[in-house]
Symmetry: C2
Subunit: 244 residues, 2 copies
C-alpha cells in the first residue's frame, strides 16, 4: 500500500489516498482513533472516484462521527484505470437498447455486470487484507453501497464481511439470484421506490432471494440519487447494531 | 368521556381506562407531562383490547419514554362490544374459504373489512375530539398500527392526523387502493416479508398507491407478530421526526 496524499478534514477525520498495485483508493479514519476502528467498505457505481468523491466523503464523515473507518477503491475500468473492450461493448449495447426504447436484455445485463463483479470482488478482498493490517483498523467489517451485485458476491464469498447495506439501484444479472441465496449475514437493503432507471421488481426479487435470517428492506421516495437523510441515518444505526 | 379506572405503571406512565358512549378505550400519558404531549392513536387487529393489551401497553410504554401520549379504543364487534350479523357472516365465509384451501375472494375481503372501516373511523374521530380537549394532550396526532385500511381511511379523511405508521398485515379491499391515492401525509409502512397469512403483493401495491410525497416501506423478517425491536425503534424515530 502506497500513500499518495494525506489531509485532515474539518472534523479531524484523516483522509488518505493510496494505491494498491494499480488500484487507487481512499481511506478515512475518525479523529479520535484511540482503539482500532471497525471498517466499512464504501461501494459506489462505476463513475470514477473523482466524480463520486463528494458523496463518498459525505458518507465517510457520517461514518467517522459514529466511530467507523471507511475505505473505497476505484472500480476496474473507471477513473484513470484502463478500460477493457468487453465492458465498452456492453455499455454501447446498453446505450443502443435505451436509445431505441427497447427493454435491456438479460444478455446485456450479464455482459455489463458479471465481468465487473468478477474483477472487483478480488480487488476488494486484496484491499481488505491490507487495510486490516493497519493498526488503526480493527474488525468487524461492513460493506455499504452499490453496485448491488458486487455487494452480494462479497457478502456471499468473503467471511470477513459481517453485515452489509446494499443499494438496490443497478441491473441484476440472473445468476445473482442464486448467489443471493448463499448470503447469510445481516442485510439492510435500500431501494428508491421511484427510481425510473431501476427494475423495482428485480430488486424485490433479489431481496426475497437473500438467505439471511435478518434482512430489512427500506424503500423510500426521491429518485435514484435522492436517498433521504433519515434513510442514511437508519443505515448507520444498522452498522452500529452489527459492527460494534 | 367517563373514566373507569386509573393506575400508574412502573415508569410513572399514567394508564386510564375510559368509555366514550359505548366505546371503551385506554389512554396512556407520560410521567412528566409538564407540557401537552403529542398523541399517537394505537391501531390494532379486531381481537379485543383485553387480548391485545400486552402488546398495546408495550407500545404505550415505548411511546411515553419518547414523550408521546397514546390512546386506543375497542373496535366495533370486538371485546365486549355487540357483534353484528354481517361481520359474523363475513368471518364465517373467510373461515370456510381458508378451510377449503380456496383463495379468499375480493367479495369476502370487502365484506370483512369495509364495514369495519366505515364504523371505526368515525369512532376514532369522536375519540380524537375528546382526547384533544384534555389539557395534558396537545397536537400533533399520529396513527400507528393495523388494520391498514382503517389507518388509510383515517389518514385520507382526518386532517388532524399528521403522520402515520401503517402495519401492512391485513386484507386490503379493492376500494382502498383508490383511497390510498388521497393520502398525502408522511407514511411509514411496516411489512413482515414472510407473513404467510398476508398478501405481500397487495401490501406492495398499496404502498405504491399512497399519494404521500414522503413514504417509507420497512420490510422485515420474523412472521406476522415478529416485528423486530429495531423496526419498532425506527417507527418511533419517524414519529419523533414528524410530531415534535
Amino acid at each position: 500500500m502506497r500513500l499518495t496524499s494525506e489531509q485532515r478534514l474539518d472534523e479531524g477525520v484523516l483522509e488518505r489516498e493510496f494505491s494498491l498495485g494499480e488500484v487507487p483508493g481512499i481511506l478515512w479514519t475518525p479523529a479520535s482513533a484511540s482503539v482500532p476502528a471497525p471498517l466499512i467498505l464504501l461501494g459506489h457505481p462505476p463513475l470514477g472516484l473523482r466524480k463520486m468523491y463528494p458523496r463518498l466523503v459525505d458518507r465517510a464523515r457520517h461514518s467517522a462521527a459514529a466511530g467507523f473507518a471507511t475505505a473505497t477503491i476505484e472500480l476496474p475500468g473507471s477513473g484513470d484505470r484502463p478500460r477493457w473492450p468487453a465492458a465498452e461493448q456492453a455499455r454501447a449495447a446498453l446505450r443502443r437498447a435505451m436509445e431505441a426504447g427497447e427493454p435491456v436484455s438479460a444478455e446485456i445485463i450479464d455482459a455489463l455486470i458479471l465481468p465487473l463483479v468478477d474483477k472487483t470482488v478480488p480487488e476488494w478482498q486484496a484491499a481488505l487484507d491490507t487495510l486490516l493490517s493497519l493498526p488503526e483498523i480493527g474488525g468487524p467489517v461492513g460493506y455499504s453501497g452499490g453496485v448491488i451485485s458486487i455487494g452480494t458476491r462479497l457478502a456471499a464469498v468473503e467471511p470477513r464481511i459481517s453485515a452489509a447495506v446494499l443499494f438496490a439501484g443497478s441491473f441484476v444479472p440472473r445468476a445473482m439470484f442464486e448467489e443471493a441465496r448463499q448470503v447469510t449475514i445481516p442485510l439492510h437493503v435500500l431501494l428508491q421506490w421511484d427510481d425510473e432507471g431501476n427494475d423495482r421488481q428485480a430488486a424485490l426479487d433479489l431481496f426475497d432471494a437473500f438467505g439471511s435470517r435478518e434482512k430489512t428492506l427500506h424503500a423510500n421516495m426521491g429518485g435514484h440519487t435522492g436517498v433521504p437523510q433519515f434513510a442514511g441515518d437508519a443505515a448507520g444505526q444498522f452498522f452500529t447494531r452489527h459492527l460494534k
